[in-house]
C-alpha cells in the first residue's frame, strides 16, 4: 500500500484544514462582534490585543474556566453526545471543498507527490455535501431532547423542521449547477468557472439566490434563527449547556457558516479563480479563495444584524411555497435552455 499517498499526505492536509477551520472560527467570533458593532455605530471589543485580535482567546479561556454543570434532569448519554454530533458533520463537509488550486500543473509537490488543495475529490462531491448536511439535523434534535426542558424541545424541533424543509430547496438548487457542469465533482465544477462571466452566479442566478437563502436557514442564522432566539425561547436547544459544551455549539454554528460559505463560493462564485491571478502562483489561489469566503461571511454577519427575524409560519411558508417552486422552475428552465 502506498503509505505516502494514502496516509501521510491526507493526514497533513487534514491537519492543515482543521487547523485553519478552527482559526477561522476564532476570527469569526471576533469579526461578528466587531462588524455588528460597526453596523451599529459603535466600536466592538478592541482592548484585548491589537484591535481586539486576542478577544477570541479571552472568550475561549472564559468558557474553559466556567463551571461545567450537568443538570440532574438531563438524559446524560445524549446530553454528552449532542455537541459532538453537531460538530463533526460541519468538519466533514470540508473534505470535498477545494480551498486552492487543484490543477496538477500548478500545485506544489510535497515528497514527490502533487499536493492538491482539496482533501478528497469525490466523484459524488455534491451528493456528499447534501448527505452530510442532512446529518446536521441530529445535533439540534438531540441537544433539544437531552435537555429535558419544554423550551429546548420546542426550539429544537422547530429548528429541525426548518432545517429539513430547507434541505429540499438546497438540493434542488444544486441540480441546476449539476446540469450545467455535467459532473458532481467539485474540481470539475470549479474548473469550468475560469472566466468571470462563466461563474455560476451569472449562469444560474435563481439557483444562487435559493442556495444562499437556504444555507442561511440551514445554519440557523438570522433572519432564520427563531430556534435559538434569546428573546423567545430563552436559548433554544442549547439552554441547558454550559462552558465547554456551549462553546462547542457556538463553534459548530460558525463552522457551519464557514463551510456553507466555502461551498457557495466553490459552486457559484468561481472557487479559486479570479481574472487569472491564480495562475501566477499557487499561493494566490488560496488567498483568492479565502478572500471570497471572507466576503461571504461578512455578508452573513451583515444580514444578521440588518434584517428582523422571521416568524415561524412565515419561515416555513418561505421554504415550501417560495424557494421550492423557484428551484423547480430553475431546473425546468435550465433543462429547456440546455436542450435547445
Amino acid at each position: 500500500m502506498d503509505w505516502l499517498t494514502y496516509l501521510v499526505l491526507p493526514l497533513i492536509k487534514i491537519a492543515i484544514a482543521i487547523g485553519s477551520l478552527l482559526l477561522g472560527v476564532m476570527m469569526m467570533v471576533l469579526a461578528e462582534r466587531r462588524v455588528s458593532a460597526w453596523l451599529q455605530d459603535r466600536h466592538g471589543p478592541n482592548r484585548v490585543g491589537w484591535h481586539g485580535m486576542m478577544q477570541p482567546m479571552a472568550d475561549g479561556l472564559k468558557f474553559i474556566f466556567k463551571e461545567d454543570l450537568i443538570p440532574g434532569h438531563v438524559d446524560k448519554p445524549i446530553y454528552l453526545l449532542a455537541p459532538l454530533v453537531i460538530l463533526v458533520p460541519a468538519l466533514m463537509t470540508w473534505a470535498v471543498v477545494p480551498f486552492g488550486t487543484t490543477d496538477p500543473t500548478q500545485v506544489p509537490t510535497l515528497f514527490g507527490q502533487p499536493f492538491k488543495f482539496q482533501l478528497s475529490d469525490l466523484n459524488i462531491g455534491i451528493l456528499y455535501i447534501l448527505a452530510i448536511t442532512s446529518l446536521g439535523v441530529y445535533g439540534v434534535v438531540l441537544g433539544a431532547w437531552a435537555s429535558n426542558n419544554k423550551y429546548s424541545l420546542l426550539g429544537g424541533l422547530r429548528a429541525a423542521a426548518q432545517m429539513i424543509s430547507y434541505e429540499l430547496s438546497l438540493g434542488l438548487s444544486l441540480i441546476g449547477v449539476l446540469m450545467i457542469s455535467g459532473s458532481l465533482k467539485f474540481s470539475v465544477i470549479v474548473a469550468q468557472q475560469t472566466d468571470i462571466w462563466d461563474w455560476n452566479i451569472f449562469r444560474q442566478f435563481p439557483a444562487f439566490l435559493v442556495f444562499t437563502i437556504a444555507s442561511f436557514a440551514e445554519t440557523n442564522r438570522a433572519p432564520f434563527d427563531l430556534a435559538e432566539a434569546e428573546q423567545e425561547l430563552v436559548g433554544g436547544y442549547h439552554t441547558e449547556y454550559s462552558s465547554l459544551k456551549f462553546a462547542i455549539f457556538f463553534m459548530a454554528e460558525y463552522l457551519h457558516m464557514i463551510v456553507g460559505s466555502a461551498v457557495n463560493v466553490s459552486l457559484f462564485l468561481g472557487g479559486w479563480h479570479l481574472f487569472g491571478i491564480e495562475n501566477i502562483h499557487w499561493a494566490f489561489s488560496i488567498l483568492i479563495f479565502c478572500a471570497k469566503v471572507t466576503l461571504f461571511l461578512f455578508f452573513y454577519i451583515w444580514v444578521r444584524w440588518t434584517l428582523p427575524r422571521f416568524r415561524y409560519d412565515q419561515l416555513m411558508m418561505l421554504g415550501w411555497k417560495v424557494l421550492l417552486p423557484i428551484a423547480l422552475i430553475n431546473i425546468v428552465g435550465t433543462a429547456i435552455i440546455l436542450a435547445f
Binding site: 500500500m1 494514502y6 438524559d75 448519554p77 445524549i78 453526545l81 469525490l122 466523484n123 459524488i124 451528493l127 456528499y128 447534501l130 448527505a131 452530510i132 442532512s134 446529518l135 439535523v137 441530529y138 434534535v141 438531540l142 431532547w145 419544554k150 424541545l153 420546542l154 424541533l157 429541525a160 423542521a161 429539513i164 434541505e167 458532481l184
Partner: protein, 178 residues
C-alpha cells in the same frame, strides 16, 4: 488490505448497532443505534463501489427517515418500554430460538450456494456504481418503475395528509402536554 479491515470494522459496527436497536428499552437509544447501523451500511456500500446508492442511503435513510422516527418518538413523548421479564418471557425465548433456526438454515444455504457461484468480480470496463450509469439506466430501461415510484410517493404524501389532517370545526384530541 484496507478494504478487508474496513469491511470487518463496518460489519462489526452494523451488527452491534443492530443488536443495540433491539436491546435498548428507551426508543430514542434504539433510534440512534439504527442511525449508526444505517451509516455503517452506507460505508459498506462505498466499499462495494456503489457510491450513488451510499449517498442516497445517507440522505434518505439516515437523514430523513430516521429524523421522522425521532420526531414521532419525541412528540409522542414515549417513556421507556417496560421490561420484558414480566411479560411473555417464554414467547421471547421461543422467538429467539425460531430466529436462530432460521438464521442457521439460511446461512447454510447461502454458504453452500453462494460459494459455488462465487464468480470473481466482473469488471466490464464501465463503472457500476457511477451516478452517470445509474442515471442512464433510470431514464431508459427503468423508466416505468421510476414513474411508478414517484406515484407511490405521491400516494404516501396524500395518505399522510389525510391521516393527520384535523378538520377545523371538530375538536381533536391533543397529545399530552410537552
Amino acid at each position: 488490505m484496507l478494504q478487508n479491515a474496513l469491511f470487518f470494522v463496518l460489519g462489526g459496527v452494523v451488527v452491534i448497532s443492530a443488536l443495540c436497536v433491539i436491546y435498548f428499552r428507551n426508543p430514542i437509544y434504539s433510534a440512534l443505534a439504527l442511525v449508526t447501523a444505517l451509516f455503517a451500511v452506507a460505508g459498506l456500500f462505498i466499499i462495494l463501489e456503489a457510491y450513488f446508492v451510499a449517498a442516497v442511503q445517507v440522505i434518505v435513510y439516515a437523514g430523513a427517515i430516521m429524523v421522522l422516527f425521532l420526531f414521532v418518538i419525541m412528540l409522542l413523548n414515549l417513556g421507556d418500554e417496560e421490561s420484558l421479564e414480566d411479560r411473555l418471557s417464554w414467547a421471547k425465548r421461543v422467538a429467539v430460538v425460531i430466529a436462530s433456526l432460521f438464521f442457521a438454515e439460511v446461512f447454510y444455504i447461502t454458504i453452500k450456494l453462494v460459494g459455488s457461484v462465487n464468480a470473481p468480480k466482473v469488471t466490464s470496463g464501465q463503472p457500476v456504481g457511477d451516478p452517470k450509469t445509474i442515471g442512464e439506466l433510470l431514464f431508459t430501461k427503468f423508466l416505468l418503475p421510476f414513474e411508478v415510484a414517484s406515484l407511490i410517493l405521491l400516494a404516501a404524501l396524500i395518505g399522510v395528509i389525510t391521516l393527520v389532517h384535523r378538520r377545523s370545526d371538530e375538536r381533536s384530541h391533543t397529545s399530552s402536554d410537552t
